[in-house]
């Protein structure tokens, strides 16, 4: 199970990998150990330095999928603007629209008969 596997082109030894990982871990620990220990956790000292500016939220500094459609929305903004304004989110408004449109339809049908 832990023996060396000869492939014909090289070999595979899990023992060498384990030793390599341990050595890398020791190097990482030494680098961490040599680091500055006086930083105060939970203060500005452990936050990123952005030229003195506050760190913004990830949502505020990343490009959203919505931004891909900017040109589409900009070209059709004259269509979208009244549509968005008419969608108030109030159910009474929607019922009112429904009644008005239904009345218009009935008037048209009544005129055709």
């Amino acid at each position: 199970m832990f023996g060396t596997l000869e492939t014909g082109y090289g070999y595979w030894s899990p023992i060498i990998w384990v030793i390599t990982i341990i050595v890398i871990g020791i190097i990482i620990y030494i680098i961490w150990w040599l680091g500055e220990p006086t930083y105060k956790k939970g203060t500005e000292q452990t936050k990123p330095f952005l030229a003195g500016m506050p760190e913004l939220s990830k949502e505020a500094v990343t490009v959203r999928a919505d931004n891909v459609y900017w040109g589409f929305k900009e070209a059709l903004k004259h269509y979208y603007r009244p549509m968005i304004n008419s969608h108030s989110g109030v159910i009474n408004d929607y019922i009112c629209w429904f009644v008005v449109v239904l009345a218009i339809v009935f008037i048209i049908i009544w005129g055709m008969l």
Partner: protein, 147 residues
């Protein structure tokens, strides 16, 4: 005097311009040029306050720079010292009582900040180097107190 641990390393300085006319900044650059060459003493400018022992501040503090200066001071690891280079950062200088100033540096930083003043308009590079050495002595005393 017992030589403390910080003598074993270089003194790293972070430069902050809080509204200077750049006169003092040019003198700071002069201190780095081959004529004075402070890097031979281990004094060098760094690009982030997180690596700095000393903040080198030039100019009076404008309203735009008040919050960044407070944040930069807070981000500098302890123990730390502040050097105010030039008359503007000490008293406001020629910009005294200007409408867009918060005030001199000591009115913006915490009251317990250790500040070394280098007066002049602008001060000579030798005076700036002297101020850095004073700040180094402040750090040595703080190191001894284990703050």
């Amino acid at each position: 005097m017992k030589i403390t641990k910080s003598f074993e390393r270089a003194l790293w300085v972070f430069h902050v311009n809080t509204g200077s006319c750049n006169g003092c900044d040019i003198e700071i650059i002069d201190a780095l040029t081959p004529r004075h060459d402070v890097e031979r003493f281990g004094i060098r400018l760094v690009g982030t306050p997180r690596h700095a022992d000393v903040l080198l501040i030039t100019g009076p503090v404008t309203k735009q720079m008040e919050e960044p200066l407070k944040r930069i001071y807070a981000q500098t690891p302890d123990p730390k010292a502040v050097i105010v280079v030039g008359s503007c950062g000490i008293t406001g200088g020629v910009f005294y009582e200007s409408y867009n100033l918060v005030g001199p540096v000591n009115e913006v930083l915490p009251k317990d900040a250790y500040i070394v003043y280098v007066p002049g308009c602008p001060p000579r590079p030798e005076a700036i180097i002297h101020g850095v050495m004073k700040a180094w002595m402040v750090l040595e005393s703080l190191e001894g107190k284990k703050l």
